[in-house]
Symmetry: D2
Subunit: 326 residues, 4 copies
């Protein structure tokens, strides 16, 4: 079995994924997409940045839009349990030869900047500005009614290596895809916060960000978003779905933002807090792996992703391919 | 404009579509599909026939499964307002040169057997055995929780001619597709009972039955059915959807029964009782005509249909084609 | 059995209920309630009137708000099939000694003004301005996403007499409540358009308007409205529900507008187009009659109603009372 | 502020609530209620015990029904992270003068039996038999489609003391009700697993178990359960709801089992994994505290609870009362 044993006592305690910074070429167009169509709430904005949170979040933001010349992705940000964990994280990354620096971020206390084994920029913080709850201000709910950021999904040129790295950091594998031919990992889903994943890795030219996902209450909210996007000029931004994943059991929809960054709308996965939760294995050729039901994913879904700023992707070692829509 | 003026004072009064008889090759397999998976209620069964009704229907059946050597379709059955309308119907069909006969059907009073301009076998009755309501016996609800039969959809070799024929019979067009190149009708939806349609015609090798549709309460029931079919051996029976039609605005799913007969699960169309309701026009090349959002329909959906017993289909005069999934 | 035999060939053809004029004391407050909270669309407004339609309606309005010194109700308006039916309606009402006059209404062609046996002001028209469809303009959906006006419900001082009058007009009883002690009708639901009712009568000081109902897609829309009202200052306007009626099987919610006019939000009743549909009988003391499940209705729900302009209510002959919440 | 500072580094690591044993007087009647009506899955049964799990659980059971002469509650059971935590738990409870013993339980490894400050019997285990996933076996879903056990709620004669005790154990307060008159806690919600609560305490004659809650996917599942219970002889078992709690923001329903044990059906609360999550304060007299919308809770809901075996309840010190339905 290709999945490493869970590290139940990691060197530092990551609570959950927190936020991502997306470089976008047109702030106004992106604001319209994320705030008016998806329904995220703007918590601050400047000439160059827009900060957004979802409806049940009290941290200052789960997404930062940053004006750039071309679409890029900044760091994937994670919240750690306490400041002690920040220092332990620094030590952990330095031990593995990763560059570490502490720096400033608006609204955040002391923040560790580093990167993973393949160069994905990562940030860790323990404290961010807290905002008043809005989850019962129902007049603010719009679009797909996003409740919280749920996970990141990255293309990886070596999923086995990525899983080993993140597993050692304390992420626990909940489900995975094995390439039956080689016995290697083709994809894996790993969590910290008690859902199916905070981060996932899929075999492909990497590192690149495949998508950022938001959790919504019910499949009907996703159908509402489809109706809205299909009739307000965003039909071409609907890439895949709706459908149900075999992996995670989630009801899903994938849409593309005005710069092509991919967003997943996601609901109905399951609780994974048990430390002895057995990872679920799927074969790469199982047609119900990606899609319990629904159309196969289009080519773009398997091939396109967002570049991390300053990180050139490399082709994957593993050449196996899943089922792709013709 | 290719749609004829509605005939608001037809010669006889059709209330609604009522039922269809499907020839199936394996009664047990079909019973499992319609009763256990879709959730229709068996109201009677013999060695050769199974009678089914949906949850809010009080007429004895909306579908008859009949054991046959190969899949076929018997008559499309309609309920008329009173016995007087039966005799007026006979006169109407005889005037148009269609063969007419009164015959017996189990559970039905006097029944007119005839056929439409292209040979589709039709039946009209005014009285069928009435059963006790079961719409509040919630322990009986299963599968997709079908509430009532909603409509028939037929391939037609000449949609203009079919629409003229049914329009004269009192069916009213609610939406239609025009082939912009020729100005001819490519498809049309016509109603009697106050929804978007009791019957529709689509250009193609005809006459053949494209599908029979059932009305369900909400899109979530359709998602429940997808989950059930995808995990109980019926994955390959899911043909198209879920999605929302541009035409009719309905949320839909198409599935195939064990013999390949196509069933649509359908909800959320609109009320059409106004006699001055303006038909909505769609261009054949409008990508949101068939699919407001969702994957394009597969080839099978455009090409395959069920044969009416003893009626050989003819190729359509109109060669224009809509958008088909590759 | 106290329900008269359905009149299947009435003297004139009523298509459906159409709209109601509510006298309100503060147009701005009422606009906010009906347009911003409930989600009806404003189709026109003047200094004294606001016209509203629901999302799938193409007639100009289903509700008119009219500035008045005190809350009142104008006429209950119905659409007839054609101008011929208008003249037949006049004759029908005059035969019964009701005052008749043809008058002008904005956006409507020739309109008959009359009243029912108990003095309820009624209007009949055959033609109203038609507007472009908006049912697929999903960016306009708000609040409870009202799709169409569904029915009126009136207090009546003599339900037997009211049912006889409307039955003769062609309305057909779908369900009714019998006072077992006297064998008289305590309430009845009558339809023209193929749902459970266009109008209902309940025993009580009458005539008064108990409520006007709007049809919405699913129970979740009603829950959305409850969340919205409960957190935007409208908590006290929620009068009863949510629950499911035994009668009609509908999922319901009753709210009060700023002047106390009662609005029902309603979904999931059933189709009633069959002319031989048997009315369903309920006993007055059956606790599941009003409420299949949910709390019993409060006293206000049984006692309070809106006055028709210039019509003084009279106490009901029948003194029997249903179950009321303490 | 009456809420103690969260203990972020407790002496032992509780993962989540796990299961409860209910003493029932008629196993067959209880099996019907929990398995057929609610939809829990039977994982084992003997002449005296029935073991049940919810659809996404892989631990052997979340509820044990045990044949008894009268209704009682056995221990509230919690899963700890590892065997090391079991021993640390023993030490923690012994330090506080609570009786501790290790004993056997079917399907569980070494189990600590103890009790809380007020005598509530508690069990801690680190390992229970693991079963194959069934969350994608959709043909098994029934009733309300329960996904997992969510929380316990107990009457407590001294909520301040109970919160101090459990807070020290590592439970974190997410929301609480303060009695404004005395500044004391009237109720509190505390979690381990990242939702609003694993356990809650409400002022009242205690200790008694107020209810055990199950998490379901959407409000529509709760409406389905109401329809089912209302038409299959369980109308009187519906005690309160549906409604939305102010506290927790959850959509809820309370039902009583055949012995009167109370079960909450619960969905749509929020994620609470942040260690710096600020508890939300509610005033006891805030009408939207218990009920954001919906009818006030009935008297039985505030007064009735299940006795823990061999533990006599004592009246609460705090006499303040919330709003109760008349």
């Amino acid at each position: 079995m290709p999945v490493p044993k869970a590290n139940l006592y990691p060197d530092f305690n990551i609570v959950r994924l927190s936020h991502v910074e997306l470089g976008v070429t047109n702030l106004a167009a992106s604001r319209k997409f994320y705030a008016d169509v998806l329904g995220l709430q703007v918590t601050d904005e400047t000439a160059t940045h827009i900060y957004l949170r979802a409806m049940e979040e009290r941290g200052h933001h789960c997404m930062v839009l940053s004006k750039q010349d071309r679409p890029t992705v900044g760091a994937l940000s994670f919240k750690v349990y306490s400041e002690v964990d920040l220092d332990a994280a620094q030590k952990w990354f330095e031990t593995r030869g990763r560059p570490c620096a502490f720096g400033e971020r608006p609204y955040q206390a002391r923040t560790l900047h580093t990167s993973d084994l393949h160069g994905v920029p990562l940030e860790f913080y323990f404290q961010i500005d807290r905002l008043k709850p809005i989850h019962q201000r129902y007049e603010l709910y719009r679009g797909v009614k996003p409740l919280r950021i749920d996970h990141f999904n990255c293309f990886s040129e070596d999923v086995d290596a990525a899983v080993a790295f993140y597993n050692d950091m304390g992420f626990r594998v909940t489900e995975y895809t094995e390439d039956e031919a080689t016995g290697r990992l083709w994809a894996a889903w790993l969590h910290r916060k008690g859902g199916v994943h905070d981060i996932a890795f899929t075999n492909g030219s990497g590192p690149r960000l495949h998508h950022t996902a938001f959790w919504v209450p019910t499949p009907l909210n996703i159908i509402d978003l489809l109706d809205l996007m299909a009739t307000t000029g965003y039909l071409a931004n609907i890439e895949r779905g709706p459908g149900r994943h075999g992996i995670s059991n989630a009801f899903f929809l994938y849409v593309r933002d005005p710069d092509g960054h991919r967003i997943e709308i996601y609901c109905s996965d399951y609780q994974t807090v048990d430390p002895d939760l057995e990872p679920i294995k799927w074969g790469l050729k199982d047609p119900q792996r990606q899609t319990l039901w629904g159309m196969p994913a289009p080519k773009s879904w398997f091939e396109e992703g967002s570049l991390f700023e300053g990180v050139a992707p490399r082709p994957p070692a593993l050449k196996s391919q899943p089922i792709i829509a013709p």
